[in-house]
Symmetry: C3
Subunit: 366 residues, 3 copies
């Protein structure tokens, strides 16, 4: 499906962010991921469990079920399933058919995120999760504040497109941080290394944007450099460093760097989960500026603008019955390379068809 090839949705043998860790509790939470209903909860020992969201008996959604110890109870006929997905109780019979189990999804906690593997569990290698130290998420120089979440009414690739071309900032975000000196209009340097697309661009000499003046206690000219990393198929980290410029010598002296953190996970064919946070590598005293910034009106307005753009383009696709014309520009190179990686990942999985659940044979178990 647009902008990928027909019939292609998203790679499955990949790690995706399923939730903020803070979202997961002893109350089961349902989330559509890669077009599958998943429930997430914590055991009594605080382990996180990710299971298929529909009871295999009658398809009842389990999210409204109760936890009995570490087991989830189906609200319809009382079947229970353990953290590994195995059925532990069928009230009306003693034997439990082997097929009566929930699919269990490998998960891994990293930084403030829960990562999930929706594909073949045998391939769920945790070393494939983006390196969170390298990405500065757990770099000790940084203090990072996650927590923003949006269910976006548009297909996930549109959010990647958006994040991979920051030339939109001065326009789409004119009324938020784009009007505040954010963003650079230029064709960035783009490189690809395995599944990572890196873009860099810079503003060599601008007035310090007001919100940064406030954060950094500095009011003169600055150089600003952005390096954006897309760890396909899910995570984006934008390293945004600001240097004070000596008005006489023009020499740059680092003031500090912000980290703009994003994860995008396909929900359904036409909706996506969007997780966002902010970081800083300076001023480690309280209050944490990243946290204040992350939950600020400025960031909230900018995210609303991105969500709205995605919704509008999804509506354009619907109005055009599934495929819009597009002219790709030089600044779209990163987006195009990102799509190519996604497409190649899907193709490597046999068009994404290989891990689909087939409906069980509709014959009685006994």
């Amino acid at each position: 499906m647009y902008p990928l090839e027909d019939g292609c949705f998203a790679p499955r043998n990949q790690w995706y962010v399923a939730a903020w860790l803070s979202e997961i509790s002893r109350t089961p939470k349902e989330r559509m991921i890669l077009d599958e209903p998943v429930i997430l909860y914590r055991t009594q020992a605080d382990e996180i469990v990710a299971l298929a969201g529909l009871c295999p008996h009658r398809g009842f959604p389990l999210a409204s079920g109760k936890l009995i110890g570490d087991d989830i109870e189906c609200p319809y006929h009382g079947l229970r399933f353990g953290p590994d997905g195995a059925c532990t109780l069928i009230p009306s019979q003693d034997t439990i058919p082997a097929a009566c189990r929930l699919r269990s999804y490998p998960v891994a906690a990293r930084w403030q995120w829960l990562w999930i593997w929706m594909g073949d569990p045998a391939l769920a290698d945790e070393t494939l999760i983006p390196d969170h130290v390298e990405a500065k998420l757990v770099d000790t120089d940084f203090r990072n504040a996650g927590g923003n979440y949006y269910l976006v009414p548009g297909r996930y690739v549109l959010l990647h497109d958006n994040l991979l071309d920051l030339n939109h900032v001065p326009f789409l975000h004119r009324d938020s941080f784009g009007g505040d000196g954010g963003g650079a209009i230029q064709v960035p340097e783009v490189t690809v290394h395995e599944n990572i697309v890196t873009c860099s661009f810079s503003q060599p000499n601008i007035a310090c944007p007001p919100f940064l003046s406030e954060l950094l206690g500095y009011d003169g000219p600055v150089a600003r450099q952005y390096i954006s990393y897309f760890y396909a198929p899910c995570m984006h980290v934008i390293w945004d460093s600001i240097s004070k410029l000596d008005p006489e010598t023009g020499k740059a002296e680092p003031l500090g760097a912000l980290l703009h953190i994003h994860a995008v996970t396909p929900a359904t064919k036409n909706t996506a989960h969007y997780f966002q946070g902010e970081g800083q590598d300076f001023s480690h005293t309280e209050p944490c500026l990243a946290e204040v910034f992350r939950s600020s009106e400025l960031v909230s307005k900018a995210l609303d603008e991105d969500v709205s753009a995605t919704r509008l383009i999804e509506q354009s696709i619907a109005a055009c019955h599934g495929r819009i014309p597009e002219i790709l520009l030089k600044a779209d190179k990163a987006a195009v390379l990102g799509r190519r990686i996604l497409q190649a990942m899907i193709r490597a999985e046999d068009g994404g068809q290989s891990h689909r659940l087939e409906p069980a044979d509709a014959m009685p178990a006994a």
Copy 2:
């Protein structure tokens, strides 16, 4: 369509409950039945008429039309149709084309119900309507109160599945009558005789459920036996008898029986009509307990729970693009046999394709 074979919806050459008799008046009422719009009204002589709901001229829905005597007048161009569906007036011309008529559906009033035959009228044999004496609906020992109605946002077979496995009662209805001693967790005895599926199960010794204590004026141990009859493809009657147990001898002495009465009629592919009532074979003095019970908060809450479960499973089917995996358990035997009867009825009708209306040739009549 799930859970039947692809392309199979519902048998047409069968009787279905179209409405409570009390719903039908001199104001035409529209109801979708087997995916066809139907209008129902009473003639001046109080005969009930069931006609196709769209004017054959331009497809205008007739339900908002006026009755002129016993004729329905189309609100668009004033065409009139008699109780037999024949056109009686075309204001703009004298001759009436033979094809200009509404399909008329055979109907039969039984107990408080209007039954309708949506298939080939030549096959509409009233002896095929379930025997209402045998089903205790017009048994003189019973006083029965109908009147509950729901338009359920889920396919009709899900309601049959629900009614054919009462193991759901202690779970789905935990907060209504399931928490009140209702329902038995067990694999019932199931028998099939022609189009009737019979299930029986029992609670040999339980404390009298509070709502029954009140109804029966008895507070000790009871035995409770349920026999559920599914008269495919539409009606369910559950005979629910309660016996007082002598605490010393254990001997059972009948206290009385309740009747739980249900009819399920396909509306559209994804919606169903659900008609429900209650009966009693004891205490024939006023007030009628069945009527009080039928309209009680307890029953209303339980029906809401069934409707909600159906809606949720319909949503699961949609999320899974039409077909959910299912593991059938021993207690599903009755539901599976019920589906088999429905499937066989459809297959006997050539896949349900035989009685579809074809669009008329789009040529002018004159």
Copy 3:
């Protein structure tokens, strides 16, 4: 699609009313026309511009964009397009790919209407626009007041059907002007000349309808004659002349004529734009009666009735999965001839397939 042949929607190489001139300003307005998003605005020199509504870069809807002089700026990445659709600025690069342009639609202002040509611009011959003098819209004898607009939730042909059989007036409009003497129940005289269907019918001797009595200052018997012109595929003008009848001699003496003015433009497959106005050829003193009448409760109620009928029939078509049976009557001759003209226009365009935009090749431009 119903009531045309499968796959046929609407002819493209034709002029359609896009808007009232008064609707178009320096704030871009989006309108779906023939299933394509179009934006309409005025240049600084007051020329009207009609451009494709989606940015060719990423499909962002341009209607929320700002005008920079005469150019529209895309709110996403700041691309600008001139009144001819050519891209005038790509902020991130100097060269502009030739393919990066908006389709520009030929337009023509006539009377109070903006006409648009959605097909091949090379064929956009303004002499194909219905003759507005002949149609009395700019006839000096007439004062005409446009301005009513509805986005109708039904396919456009249903509105043509409605306008081409005025036998609906005494029924559908019973509570508005149909109850006021409007409409004649009769099979009209129908003639076809090229793309114009003409129907005439008359009421030789009726009491002067109350609203006309008031307009004309006359209270006796009148003869009323209607001649309805359908200029396929878009415009209808109904010339409605009223003559005073001498009660003794029966001689008719013209009192005046009303003009009922309509245009119907396909929006999407299932929605249509409906433009309506009224005219008069008498009493050219202020206030303009046509204007008062056009915005009266009577006309507003009647239009609501037509819109509602269209919506209901569209719902019938949906309930019948795309095609309703229909019996065509003698009075449907004009509607059938109208459909035949539409069908022939589409067929002449190779099934309407010839002017579809194909999605651009999804390769980067440089």
